[in-house]
């Protein structure tokens, strides 16, 4: 089983939020109006966490893009009562939207708060609802959704590689956030492939994962010189 992983270089990241926008477009993520977003119902598959350190006048803002960590030992899939979230053959934590009963147990169980819920019937901007990405199913009200590492892109490149009777190349499968990042801060690849850029970066002295001590084995690495 491949271990698709993401490495986010926080030393390169400018916090521009292009990854969030690209993700929204790529995955047909609904737009939540500002009032609802204020109430904590914003739908982000790729989120951006901002924390402030220090006190005025020496304040430092820390920006940290946060996708789903696609844990190897995911706490969310363990608790799902209907197997609407599970770890698929590619080692990715997948969602089955039409099976989800909306109990939100997986959201409560996720230590990283990466899952989001469709509190209302999803809405899109005028016009945007005419140019959905056809590869990603549109979700309905009352189900949980989250970052899939753009699994539809993996399907696509796998089919192409199968037709051409060759193995997947490193860098052939990349999610939208990684592709768009203007600072080249998001690398993506297979950790099992020892020649991949991601494997090398994940072994960097700067690399760490969020709350490694929980033992859930997240597959998103952060690179930072600053000790987090």
């Amino acid at each position: 089983m491949p271990r698709w992983a993401m490495v986010i270089d926080l030393d390169k990241c400018t916090g521009c939020g292009a990854c969030m926008a690209a993700c929204k477009m790529e995955n047909n993520v609904a737009i939540v109006d500002s009032k609802e977003a204020q109430a904590g119902r914003a739908l982000f598959w790729m989120d951006m966490i901002t924390t402030y350190e220090g006190e005025y006048p020496t304040v430092a803002a820390k920006r940290m893009p946060k996708p789903c960590f696609q844990c190897d030992n995911p706490p969310c899939t363990k608790v799902c009562p209907v197997r609407a979230t599970y770890r698929n053959n590619e080692g990715l934590v997948a969602q089955i939207y039409h099976r989800c009963i909306g109990c939100r147990y997986c959201m409560a169980a996720c230590p990283f708060t990466t899952k989001v819920f469709n509190w209302y019937e999803p809405q899109w901007l005028e016009g945007a609802n005419k140019c959905f990405n056809p590869d990603v199913s549109v979700r309905a009200v009352g189900v949980v959704e989250k970052c899939s590492f753009c699994a539809h892109r993996l399907q696509h490149v796998k089919e192409v590689a199968d037709l051409e009777k060759r193995p997947l190349q490193d860098g052939e499968y990349v999610p939208a956030c990684s592709e768009i990042c203007p600072a080249d801060a998001i690398s993506f690849g297979d950790l099992e492939n020892k020649d991949s850029a991601v494997y090398k970066l994940s072994r960097s002295y700067r690399a760490s994962r969020v709350m490694e001590d929980l033992g859930v084995e997240p597959k998103v690495y952060y690179l930072s010189k600053r000790v987090s």
């Binding site: 009963i101 147990y105 409560a108 990283f112 708060t113 819920f117 509190w119 009352g142 949980v144 709350m211």
Partner: protein, 448 residues
């Protein structure tokens, strides 16, 4: 208590039959109010179905709110019944006789209400059957479905079986709905054989029902403690929840007893002594509850793990401080003060203590569910949760169903087990005397 004549007389317990045949105007007024609240809550639920869970106050990261709090709370109350009645029956406590029926009714009604709450909480209630079609037994939620269904089945049967002789009595009195009582009495004639079979069935059920009841609240606590979330991931949650459930259950039972004593004039049946004994039980549970709470928070504070501390400080001095200290006041300070002194341990004192405990236990559930979600491990802004009108309405609706359920039950069946009171008069007094003799030195009972 002891009736010297030992008469087998239908009218001896006339007070217990009266609510079935006589209905005052107050009944319709109170019933109407509860019905109105209930209908309003149905309307609100309809709005939730139409619009989605957005009409509630829940959000990310506070993904569970009132519905789950009330689910845990109501299921907790349900432990009043069956568990207490089973334990009292099993321990041959003679004073149980006028209490068991009400306790069992609480269980049946409240379980139905509580069991519905996770369904109210679903984003897609239309897909509820997925739980059966593609349910994963590895998920604690499925454990819940299983054990609550088992408990509901066992406790309704356990409510119904001891009712059969009473139903037969109502059938024999004639009057309204004879066909219904004839059907429900299953041809009960009160023969020795029938009594033997009934007693055996009750004995088997009361032993069975205790582990099932304990499993129910243990498994509910597992929903929380199986996750890695700070404040939830605790090994004592199982027994902590069970103790809390019995605690709130006794309090609810006392409230119900005091209300019906007043409304239906059961003063002759529910005496000072019953409230004294149950009050003592409530006092013990209050102290056990405090012990668990103390252990739970002390271990958290002593270890001082940062995420755990965030949650604890959120409760101790943060936005939830009012609820937390309110809970300590309601669950420990008030009941212990009232119930420790004979002077305060009157029926009205017990009523105040019980109301405090029910409120306190609701707060406890609230304090367990929300702060852990509002303080996720990730460095996110603190979660806020303000329940919406819909959630309040459904809470009020749940309480109304509880009251309505009792009111309807009282119009069809006696709230106090008539045959068990009779049995107490005829056999109980003698049996207890013999039993006490058998405890004392010098005399052996042949049949023990």
């Amino acid at each position: 208590m002891m009736d010297k004549t030992h008469q087998y007389d239908l009218d001896q317990d006339a007070a217990l039959y009266r609510p079935i045949y006589q209905t005052g105007r107050g009944y319709y007024v109170v019933g109407g109010i509860f019905l109105a609240v209930y209908l309003f809550s149905i309307y609100m639920y309809y709005a939730q179905i139409r619009n989605g869970l957005g009409v509630t106050g829940m959000n990310q990261p506070v993904t569970w709110g009132f519905y789950i709090v009330n689910f845990v709370f109501f299921i907790g109350i349900s432990h009043a019944g069956t568990l207490i009645s089973a334990i009292l029956r099993l321990s041959k406590a003679e004073w149980r006789r006028p209490i068991t029926r009400m306790a069992e009714v609480i269980t049946a009604i409240v379980l139905a209400i509580g069991g519905l709450h996770p369904i109210i909480d679903l984003g897609r209630p239309d897909r509820m059957m997925n739980l059966l079609e593609s349910g994963r037994l590895q998920s604690p939620l499925l454990w819940d479905v299983t054990s609550i269904t088992a408990y509901f089945t066992a406790s309704t049967v356990y409510l119904y079986l001891p009712m059969i002789p009473d139903i037969a009595r109502i059938r024999d009195r004639g009057g309204k709905l004879t066909w219904l009582y004839t059907f429900m009495a299953w041809g009960w004639q009160g023969t020795e054989r029938q009594k033997q079979v009934l007693n055996r069935a009750i004995n088997i059920l009361m032993v069975m029902v205790i582990p099932i009841a304990i499993s129910v609240h243990t498994v509910i606590s597992y929903i929380f403690s199986m996750t890695l979330q700070p404040g939830w991931h605790s090994t004592i949650f199982g027994p902590y929840f069970v103790a809390g459930a019995i605690f709130s259950g006794i309090a609810a039972l006392l409230i119900v007893m005091i209300i019906f004593r007043k409304v239906f004039h059961f003063e002759d049946y529910l005496k000072q002594i019953h409230f004294q004994y149950l009050g003592t039980l409530l006092l013990i549970m209050s102290i056990i509850w405090f012990y668990f709470t103390f252990s739970e928070y002390l271990t958290g504070i002593f270890g001082g793990e940062p995420h755990e501390m965030n949650t604890i400080l959120y409760k101790f001095s943060g936005p939830f401080a009012f609820f937390f200290w309110g809970m300590v006041l309601c669950n420990f300070v008030i009941p212990v003060t009232i119930l420790s002194f004979r002077k305060f341990k009157t029926i009205s004192g017990v009523l105040i203590a019980s109301i405090a405990v029910v409120i306190g236990m609701w707060l406890e559930r609230f304090i367990i569910v929300v702060p852990s979600l509002a303080n996720p491990r990730m460095e996110l802004p603190l979660g806020i949760y303000i329940p919406s009108l819909v959630e309040w309405a459904l809470f009020a609706g749940g309480l109304s169903v509880f009251a309505l359920g009792f009111m309807v039950f009282a119009k069809f069946f006696p709230l106090i087990s008539i045959w068990e009171i009779e049995e107490g008069r005829i056999h109980g007094v003698k049996e207890v005397e013999e039993r006490i003799h058998s405890y004392l030195p010098g005399r052996e009972l042949s049949n023990l």
